[in-house]
Symmetry: C2
Subunit: 249 residues, 2 copies
DNA sequence: CGGGACTTTGATGTAACTCAAAAATTGTGG
DNA sequence: CCACAATTTTTGAGTTACATCAAAGTCCCG
């Protein structure tokens, strides 16, 4: 279990004030996928009203069950979204990265956050109020449609995850997760997966025990599919993993 | 495996012509949840353009991977939505019933259907074209928002299913499924679950083997939690099932 | 009353979990 | 920068929930 002693853990508001940063080019709203269909003046309006901040690894943006009155745009870094299940075991729903928005679901539905968002790689984010979002939805049906498409895309992914967990073995799922991590996140200069996860986090993605992940990674390594160096993972034989994971596309 | 010899299996269009029915009060669009926020004249417009039909058990409304150019409203009956996984094994995503709409995700995303929709209890449905939907989205942002909320609600449910399958045992999941079926579908005059499912379908909801469902149902019966009479299932001790299924709410 | 589809029961194998304890890595304060 | 504490990772052994395979029994419906 983790116990990060971070300001964000204890008081979200204080962190925001401490971490406030200028609306620099590091926080360009035009690079947010969901905003691609906004007109220049709408982007301008958002840029005026949004709130930029910087967060270290371990910080919490929002917590499952909390009321949130806005959503976040990720300009840089990686944010882990997870739900807390039985005995406090995490289930990782997704990793959000540059260009993604998170938390919009809760404000559209007028419900409390259904996941916790924790920074796992130092991030620049913007906070946009629920009010700003609603103004745009009202004014621009193309944007509204884009948002709907985003929700539908995530729904599709979630349904695919259900069938994966229900029908594939742990080994197959782990192989697939490695492939997906390679596709979603760049490689570093040494060809390793750029995202750094603990074995426990990998287990929480796959839906298994930490020990199982460890044994399977060792197995993959022994077969020459991957190379391991601490938390660095390098995929050597992607084809083998594709086959092992029964991945079609 | 199933081999329904139904027209719908071989030619969807023919079925529609055969099954066309008048736009009777059995197909009242005002009873569709997603249309609650439409104005009377908008409902009127939809009623003009929609297409009503009747389908027997076993009929297919659309198939995973098919292009669909509209969506369906369920006025009566039950429709099973499932994805086909490894070795053709079904994973049931949800059951749609009176008041629900299905297939809208695909037309919003301009993608092929990601599930197959099969009637499991004789149904009255309306087909509404993609064009009609878009007209409404464009004209009425409140409706647009309602649709977005629907997608977000389904997304939330899907995420909850993920954590359930990943962290609960088959026994716990089966107990939960029985509870959910009781909540979502009425009981018949003999206090049995009104929805009639094969053991295989139950297995495809839970994500397990048919034999496991059979053994666990026998176990539940032996403990006095449920009564069985063929496919009729009566829940006797809901509290025990709640506890067994580790259900909080 | 015969045949196809479902359901049930039994026997067996194994993937994966759990618990425990050692080894390695990471972080921290003096 | 080192020593010590705290995580995290790894390995081992034992257990079990669940899948698989096979065969018999039951239910329909024409």
């Amino acid at each position: 279990m983790h116990f990060y002693h971070n300001f964000a853990e204890t008081d979200n508001e204080i962190v925001k004030i401490i971490n406030k940063i200028p609306n620099s080019q590091q926080c360009d709203l035009r690079k947010i996928e969901a905003f691609k269909r906004l007109k220049p003046d709408e982007i301008e309006m958002l840029a005026e009203e949004r709130y930029c901040s910087y967060h270290n690894k371990g910080a919490i943006l929002y917590r499952e069950g909390n009321r949130i009155n806005g959503f976040y745009c990720i300009h840089k870094g990686i944010v882990k979204l997870f739900k807390t299940g039985i005995n406090g075991k995490e289930q990782i729903i997704k990793f959000a990265k540059q260009g993604d928005i998170i938390g919009y679901r809760s404000i559209v539905s007028h419900e409390n956050a259904c996941t916790t968002a924790r920074i796992i790689q130092e991030s620049y984010v913007s906070f946009i109020s629920s009010h700003s979002l609603m103004t745009l939805v009202k004014a621009n049906y193309i944007f509204s449609l884009a948002l709907m498409q985003l929700a539908c895309k995530e729904l599709d992914e979630a349904n695919n995850t259900i069938i994966k967990i229900a029908q594939k073995t742990v080994k197959e799922r782990l192989a697939e997760v490695l492939i997906l991590l390679k596709r979603d996140f760049e490689l570093d200069n040494k060809q390793n997966l750029q995202i750094s996860l603990t074995r426990e986090e990998l287990a929480n993605m796959v839906g298994t025990a930490t020990e199982s992940v460890i044994r399977l990674l060792a197995d993959f390594k022994a077969n020459g599919y991957i190379a391991l160096d601490g938390r660095k993972i390098r995929i050597i034989d992607e084809k083998a993993l594709l086959k092992l994971g029964k991945i079609n596309d």
